[in-house]
Symmetry: D2
Subunit: 254 residues, 4 copies
């Protein structure tokens, strides 16, 4: 088999980025996630066979996303909620540029309002919401999509925050999941985008006061998405001034 | 006929925004466009029956795009090239927000690198280019699209700057024109996007050293695009905290 | 104003096609729709200002869709359910070809399994369903879309048949409505497509045993869709053998 | 690693289907492809590491596409030109249904007019054409796409038949290549679609009188496409009558 057809590396280098503030301020959250939501997310990925998983958090220097870390990250997960404004513009911009260069980005739940996601979407990313223990059922609308494999016809989450339409995003390149909420709303809860050479997946569930990131179906989807978002070998992205490839018409022709 | 089905206003309020710097520094440009490229663009629109057309330029206060002007603009045309950096971030952001609220935006030629366009796309918007008097032929690939009406199977421009792929944009919602260049390149030269309630059209031709904005086919397309991009009545965009519409499951159920 | 920029005719010629069998076999249906569902649909359009509306039904000669009728139809509505197989292949194919030539097509409810829709989609168009008096709430997910104007944030229908995902259609060009059902399902209930020069809108509601086509919001959407789907002037669709537009490389070059 | 995250089988079972008529009637073709174009295509795939490649041709019983062959095919390549009408409707329909069930389909060149492709597209699939030894240059417009890997910024083919826009297809889900032709035309020459659970790639080059299927870049793309189109594990496609998942509103509510 030639090198060109080698399957993508089976072990993408994954970095789970987490705001990691709620756990320090809300006992309900730290009871659910004693080592932080990032630890639960990383465990879920390891459970699905990913061995190259590390974490980074907001209050580390450079938010844990140094140039070295970003350069060696194939897929970045992003969870933030109450401190989007504390993420430096410089780091947010580096994340965006790494996506353009091919890094996968999985944006979770309240990350819809994060700087990198809003910057990549070019829209407000606003939505409706309610914290009232709604039941959520995520229906697979694209059963042939690799992100949907292994979860059956739907994922049911007993209690979650509600997010409702209208969700102000560009029309997704692919719509994988639609959520039903017991309070009467719907939401486009699994959306893919490509920007530059990078793949982006937005996945709705994961409010901090629920044990969502221990849910088997949710873990399955995030693992599928990490595999899907990993960079593939690609054609060069080349820009700038160029000589013609064909003889141009002579001036006389005009 | 009920109000809801009234056709859109036949006279959208159009503002042609122009950098207006080349004309002051390059005699070749001011010879071609003695009153500025914005004047030629506005004339082209008036020729096609638009009577509510005004212009605004970079070196006016607030770049001519005050809150009043933006609030009373249905469709904004944007041409910039050498001074993208001189556009204030504040004005660029106001333009973006007006697009989200429904204002149409027609981005011309080198405007691919303008602040509003890059902000709305979320990509680098980079491309290949050459100033060598290439012949350009813009083929209609979507003949049913209203922006393509009246131009036949293609538009031919005797001499233009070349823009070549890869053009680093999100996949367009609709691809209306593809350009062929005599030097051997191709380009997605007519692309539509929707962001929020606003419609965006990127149209490639219009280098400042060519009489492109006097070309009948080019003027036809820009007029078509202005009509297409004008806001239509729409459903409300509503966000934020919401009460449930259905009785939620009782706590006991859990 | 040049002719090219004239607004589309304010009075598209609309034909409402109806299977019209349930009304003859089920008193519950004929009680709801004493003149047939087609009459109620036509009334709804007239109520919204369309004055050029006629109907055609399955059991007329050529199903009421003669060459003359099709040639003089700008927008065709299609409702069928139990007798899809009784529609002749020849008539179905003529409908498809008229869509390619620019006729708008609005496919209602159980028309998802009609010959013209399946032929235009290239998929099975299958789905889940239940007749159990579910409540349906159609959320607007694309508030800037002209088909959504005038209906608020959602349309609520007290009782309807349920249609659930997975709906086996190509990813829609635009997704305008998503349905929530009280029994726990969701559905992509307002989808646009373009095929050839024609515009297609699939709209879910309208089971024959409910008064859905008297519902103000449903009538508003169908009227919006009729306006949206009406043909616009367009570029020519031209195919076949062609002479080169540029001098071809000489044989010596090879 | 759990089974769900296992990479797709590295050896998809590929069937190259070929009309195989030109070789028997035109010495120029049989000189170029002494064992048939299908043999050259199969060789190209084997060169890229695919070991499970077989061929089937029109004049075999059931066109070589028996139920057993189709059931054991992960990716089907299709080349036809002068005998589309000789393909039985029954076999064409079986191909379509296998695509819906997940089989990948790669449609080559004049296969744009084949029964399975037209059936899956729902459009006429017509185009412009010329046999005049045009030079073709296929530009990568989506460098992050796996089908584009390994081919640089473009593929150049010294002599080919010209296909020109307008190409009457649904807007592709992804546009990977655009062709430039020396005679002045352009063409969307690498297009992906998904129908049901199956992936479809249309790839333009390959007129029978040119050695196109020996071209290294063309072989690379076809190999990339075979890998991309191979089925992945997916969620179940389930349809039909369903019981509610939630307690329905009681009749009193009405």
């Amino acid at each position: 088999m030639t090198q060109q057809n080698a399957p993508q590396p089976t072990q993408p280098r994954i970095t789970v980025w987490h705001e990691y503030r709620h756990e320090h301020e809300n006992k309900a959250v730290s009871d659910l996630y004693p080592h932080g939501m990032h630890a639960a997310l990383a465990d879920g990925l390891r459970e699905h066979g990913f061995s190259n998983v590390r974490t980074a958090t907001l209050d580390e220097p450079e938010h844990g996303l140094t140039d070295d870390v970003l350069a060696s990250t194939d897929v970045l997960l992003w969870w933030g909620h109450k401190a989007h404004g504390d993420v430096s513009d410089a780091v947010a911009e580096k994340v965006v540029q790494r996506v353009w260069d091919g890094m996968g980005l999985i944006v979770l739940h309240s990350g819809h309002f994060s700087k990198p996601f809003k910057r990549l979407m070019g829209t407000s990313c606003d939505l409706k919401w309610r914290e009232a223990n709604d039941r959520e059922r995520l229906w697979v609308v694209d059963p042939g999509h690799p992100i949907a494999q292994g979860v059956g016809e739907y994922i049911e989450i007993e209690q979650e925050e509600m997010y409702g339409e209208h969700f102000d995003i560009p029309a997704p390149d692919e719509l994988v999941f639609l959520s039903w909420f017991s309070g009467g709303e719907v939401f486009r809860s699994g959306c893919t985008y490509r920007r530059g050479s990078g793949k982006i997946f937005y996945f709705r569930p994961g409010h901090e006061t629920y044990p969502t990131y221990y849910h088997a179906g949710v873990r399955q989807v995030i693992a599928n998405a990490a595999r899907w978002a990993a960079p593939t070998a690609s054609a060069p992205r080349a820009f700038g001034n160029r000589q013609p490839l064909e003889a141009l018409p002579t001036g006389e022709r005009r």
